[in-house]
Subunit: 112 residues, 2 copies
Amino acid sequence: MGKTNILGSFEHLVLLALVHLGEESYGVTVRQELEQKSGKTISIGAVYATLDRLEGKNLISSRHSGADPARGGKPRRHFKVLPAGELALARSRELLEKMWHGIDLNKERPTG
Amino acid sequence: MGKTNILGSFEHLVLLALVHLGEESYGVTVRQELEQKSGKTISIGAVYATLDRLEGKNLISSRHSGADPARGGKPRRHFKVLPAGELALARSRELLEKMWHGIDLNKERPTG
DNA sequence: AATCAATTTTACTTTGTAGAATAGAAATGG
DNA sequence: CCATTTCTATTCTACAAAGTAAAATTGATT
């Protein structure tokens, strides 16, 4: 059998955020997306650390874009999901679906 | 917003294996289930370490049962998913579904 | 130089993982 | 009957990878 090589749970979420955001994805928007969907506070450091790791594994790539006019601040680092990243996502999803299959958590809850 | 508190990816899988196995769940069967569904090799140490951690967080409980007759080996440690564990699973699932929503990975694949 | 937006760094905790060691029960053989 | 071997299962050890928060830094703009 192959070696285990599953996406970390946060990596998974970050990757999904990137796919969702498309062109709009850079550190700050990724964090926003994550906070919105999860309702939890996400530290920006956690986001960048994970982005760096995903890039290190060649699941995503990044490039710097010149700063937009009419905006303070430094230029943004934009991210793109690579084919390997999409594959990893698809695999994670398949495995989770396989494992969830046939499971109903509300099986024996009190009725009255 | 609340603090992040997401299941680790392997914790998630182990919890799902336990739910799936019900009464039959102990270290060795959990590992089997995981290997079957994932097609990957899972070390037994990884399984127990994770079970211990889940128990430490009160997401599951364990009890020892006397050894079955007609079977070599030592008595088994059986595991049960607690309500908090089911809740954690339900939450993970919801979040993932929310994040997957609207995403189609096959968007722009070459057709010919 | 003050301000703003964004990224990087630092330091640490928690999870994930493999492999060896140990333990309990039953079977075997003298 | 007792020592030893064999099974099955669990625990221990040691380290790598992922997750996280908070502070520091950078680059552009005013």
